[in-house]
Structures are given as C-alpha cells and as structure tokens.
C-alpha cells in the first residue's frame, strides 16, 4: 500500500507542478483568499455586473461553501498559493484512495482491494483531479468515505454507521452538487443491505447531518436570498454552459442523446488523444476498454456477477454512471472522479475472476493498464503546459503592465498578478461594466466563449470582436493564450 501511495503522490505532484492553470482554480481560490484576509466569503476577480453572478463581490453563492471553507485553514497552515490549493486536492485524493481500499476490502478481500486501489491511484483522470484546484476530489473523497464508513460500521451499530455515513455524504453535498451521487449510492447500499433493520429512528440518524448542514447553510443564504437564488440557479448551466451548446439538464428532455453524448464526450473522447495515434495518451483507450469490459462482463458472466460483493459494486457503478449521465448534461471531465473509481474497482475484480487458475497472468494485465495510465500522465508532465503556456503569458503581463493598468483576463492569472491587483475576469470585455483594460488576455475558454457568443449573444460578440479589431493589437501568442494591448 505504501508503494501505491508513493506512486500516486509522484504522479499527482508532478502533475501539480506542470499542469496549465485553469480559470476555475482562480475563481475557487478567490473566496477563500478573501475569507482569510477580510473575513468575508466574496469573489472579486469575476466581473458580475449585468450577469447572473451579480452580488458575487459580497456573497459567493454560485458554488457550495465547504471547499472555500476548507481552503481557508489550509492556507493558514501552508500559505496561500496555487501549489497549496492543488496540494489540498492531493490530500483529498489520498482520503479517496483510503476509502476505496476500505470499501473493496470489505466487499472482497485484501488482494483485490490492493489491485483496485492501484488502478484508481494511477488513473489519469483521478490523478488530474487530485492535482486540480477544484472541489471535485474533495467532494468525491467525502462521498466515498461515507460509503466506507457505512460498510465498516453497520454491523457494530446501524444508527451510528448511518450517522457517520450521513455526515460525510452531507459534507460532500455541501462541497459540490455531485455529492448527490454519493447520497444516491448510500441510499441504495442501505436499502440493499439493511432495509429490514431500518426504523424511523435509524433513518433519523442518517437524515440529521443533512438537516444540520442545510440549517447552517441557510444562515448564510439568509444574508442575501435574492443573490443566492440568482447565482445558484444561474450556475445550473453555469459559465461552462455559456460556451457550449449543451445545457445541464437537457438529458431529461432527450435521454437518448444524453446517453450517446455521455459515451462519446465524457468517456471515449476523454480517454483518447483526439485521433493522434502517435501520442502516448491514445493508450488511454485500452483503459477505457478494460473499464467498459468489466461492466459488460459483470452483466453477462453469471459466475462473476454472483461473486460475493460484485452485485453490490455493479449496482453502485450502474447507479452512479446513470445518475451522472442524466444529471450533468455539460459532460464535464472533472466529474470523472465520481465514476472512475467504481470502474477501476470493478476492473480489478474482473481481472481476478477471469485469471482464476492462471494467477501468473495477473501482473501482466495489471502492468499493461498501469503502463497506459502512467504513460498518459508522463506525457502531460513532459508537455509542461504550466511553463509553456501559463507562465509565459503571466510573466509577460508582469513585465509590461504598470501597477495601475487594468488587465482583463481569465481568473487563473490572479495567482501571478495577485488577487487584489487590477485584474478583472470579464469575458464580455466591459460590455456591461464599461471597463476597458490596457491588456485583454484570451485563454482557450475566452476564445470558445467568443465563438459561441456569435450565436448565443450577438450584441456582446459584436462588442468584443469590434474592440479587438479596432482598439487592440496582438502582442503575445502561445498555444494557450493570446494577449492584446490597447493601441
């Protein structure tokens, strides 16, 4: 287990140090930074005037509160920086791995649990989320810990196992809406294993933590209910939805399209290199075939399905895959951390079952999967998009902008320019605010947004494109950023 942990930490830390910085990381560090420095959970780098984010400079309601609340004491201990934000996700990654070791050793045995934990620890998408300054890993780790707590404590005391699991899953739900996946999984697990032992009292033990969490959050919501409603409902399709044709809940209206998109956009596309067969990242497709093959085999192969524990794991896997498919129409890649551990664990059991009587095959099969995963992470590390893209753009701005110059650009730049600096993340380039920066920095997302806005918001598109054509000139371009300066 120590070897697996060391491998996971090596992959995560090397990703932390080399991965490009994304706007999400700036947006989600901002409220924690202000909580630490001013005592108020507000977000100042995002321009909110005229949009559903209005009120953000006083209250941060568009995201759930637990991730910034966890960041603040973390920064107090380890200092505020991009690295410390990302390292927090790595710590949650270790918690998630521990939870999966407990889940799989309870459902199966120590050997299968070790292989399952190894396959999760090296998974490219799991490692990415463990090195990304978003809340996804924290949410997943809390949810998986809830399932582990229930499985390990239920025989000793059902009420207290439900209370412990309920507390962890409620915390997941207050970290990110994907916590609902853990809540569904916990409900399914309880009904499958202990429905006959349930009484109103035991159910109350499970519900109590949710009630306490909701009550505490309500106190914060009560400070500005109108802002809460606008920001929270605005974020249903969210900022991501503004640059995509997809909407969060479109699956409820078009389930077949949602299933097709889930396969193609969330999985096949994310586990391949966009058709570049010379890239090590294309090896990811082997991993996806193994993950999919494990599900197919568990459904078809009666012996595998009837292996103790497999029925429960298969149920949880299908439930989580289905729920994510229908609840997230945006097909966001960071949410893979919610499903990949189930798939990897099922793959471990499948490998074990199909190599029964031929144990000498196991290291080779596991080795191929580990190789494919490590190769993908190593390729991303070698690309070093942090230095090649982010740092070169941020350093240019640091060198050329005077202290009073307004810079309009994506939130990730705040890690270099400062969260109290003259940086505004305004993809609309002052359409509502009237602000015009000396510099306008386009990242990938700004470019996508501008392209999509030609259809979705032509007036804003015309405003931004017109200004770029007539008032600005390009001064730097790299694969991730284009910097414009006022003429």
């Amino acid at each position: 287990m120590l070897g697996i942990l060391a491998l996971f930490l090596a992959l995560s830390v090397s990703t932390i140090l080399t991965r490009r910085v994304v706007a999400n990381e700036g947006w989600f560090a901002d409220p924690a930074y202000h909580l630490l420095t001013t005592g108020s959970l507000r977000t100042t780098i995002l321009e909110s005037k005229g949009t559903w984010l209005a009120g953000l400079d006083h209250h941060t309601y568009w995201i759930l509160p637990l991730h910034p609340l966890a960041q603040a004491p973390w920064y107090k201990l380890f200092g505020f920086s991009l690295w410390s934000l990302r390292a927090l996700s790595t710590v949650w990654g270790v918690v998630a791995l521990g939870a999966w070791f407990l889940i799989t050793s309870k459902l199966f045995n120590r050997s299968i649990a070790t292989v399952a934990t190894l396959l999760i620890a090296v998974d490219y998408h799991f490692t990415l989320d463990a090195a990304l300054g978003r809340m996804d890993m924290m949410c997943a780790a809390l949810g998986f810990s809830g399932l582990a707590a229930f499985l390990w404590l239920r025989e000793r005391s059902l009420p207290w196992s439900l209370f412990a699991a309920g507390t962890l899953v409620a915390a997941a739900c207050l970290t990110h809406p994907c916590g609902i996946l853990a809540a569904l999984a916990l409900a399914a697990l309880v009904l499958r294993l202990d429905r006959r032992r349930l009484t109103p009292r035991t159910v109350a033990f499970a519900i109590l933590p949710f009630a306490i969490g909701a009550a505490a959050y309500s106190v914060y919501i009560a400070q500005a209910p109108g802002d809460f409603w606008r920001q929270f409902t605005g974020n249903i399709s969210g900022i991501a939805g503004e640059s995509e044709d997809l909407k969060r809940f479109y699956a409820l209206k078009a389930p077949l399209s949602a299933i097709k998109d889930e396969f193609m956009l969330r999985y096949v596309s994310a586990f391949s290199a966009g058709g570049d067969w010379s890239s090590p990242f294309q090896l990811q497709i082997i991993v996806l075939i193994a993950y999919g093959g494990a599900v197919v085999s568990a459904l078809i192969d009666r012996k595998l399905r009837h292996t103790p524990g497999v029925g429960i794991l298969l149920m949880l896997t299908l439930l989580t895959l289905g729920a994510l498919c229908f609840l997230d129409g945006l097909k966001q890649k960071p949410y893979l951390v919610q499903t990949v551990p189930y798939l990897a664990a099922l793959t471990a059991v499948w490998i074990w079952s199909w190599t029964e009587g031929r144990p000498q095959l196991r290291p080779w099969i596991i080795g191929v999967l580990v190789l494919a995963q490590v190769a993908s992470t190593a390729a991303a590390v070698r690309e070093d998009s942090y230095r090649g893209e982010y740092l070169s753009a941020a350093d240019y701005l640091k060198a050329h902008a005077a202290p009073n110059d307004l810079i309009i650009g994506a939130g990730e730049l705040a890690f270099t320019l400062g969260f109290d600096a003259n940086l505004t993340d305004d993809v609309r380039l002052g359409y509502f605010s009237g602000k015009q920066g000396r510099f306008y920095v386009q990242n990938r997302w700004y470019k996508e947004w501008l392209k999509t806005s030609a259809k979705t918001d032509p007036a804003v598109h015309q405003h931004v494109q017109g200004l770029l054509d007539t008032r600005y000139r390009e001064v730097l371009r790299n694969p991730g950023y284009t910097i414009y300066e006022l003429r």
Binding site: G3, L7, R19, R20, V22, A23, N24, L132, R134, A240, E244, L246, D261, M264, R266, V268, S269, A270, S272, A273, G274, G275, D276, W277, S278, P280, F281, Q284, I285, L288, I289, G292, V296, S297, I300, D301, R302, K303, L304, L330, Q332, K333, P334, W354, P363, I366, G367, V368, V370, L371, V374, A375, S376, A378, A379, A380, R382, E383, S385, R444
Partner: protein, 58 residues
C-alpha cells in the same frame, strides 16, 4: 510486482513521441474520431463475446 515495476520503468522510456494532454479544467472534450470509437466498440464486443461463451460453458 516486479513485473509491474519493470513496466512502469518502460513507460518513462517510451515517451519520446509527441504529447497530447487532455487536461482542460472543465467542459467536455471534443467529439472522438471514428477509429477510436471503432476500436472501443470492437474491444467491448470482444470482451462481451468471451463473457457470453464463458457463461454458456457453465
């Protein structure tokens, strides 16, 4: 476990070709290309067939 260690070491040696990292912070990846879809479907179909034959043997 030694074989796994060997394969991990091998991984670092084969990384001499071009790199493509699918690691944006959010949003879906673009649509996959047909050869990848075909390989994925063929892989699943193959595994499904083996599972079905194992099931019949029992």
């Amino acid at each position: 476990m030694n074989k796994i260690k060997y394969l991990i070491m091998l991984a670092s040696m084969i990384l001499c070709c071009s790199a493509y990292a699918n690691d944006d912070g959010g949003g879906p990846a673009g649509a996959p290309e047909p050869a990848t879809i075909a390989l994925f479907c063929a892989g699943l179909a193959g595994i499904g067939l083996v599972a079905w034959r194992r099931n019949r043997r029992k």
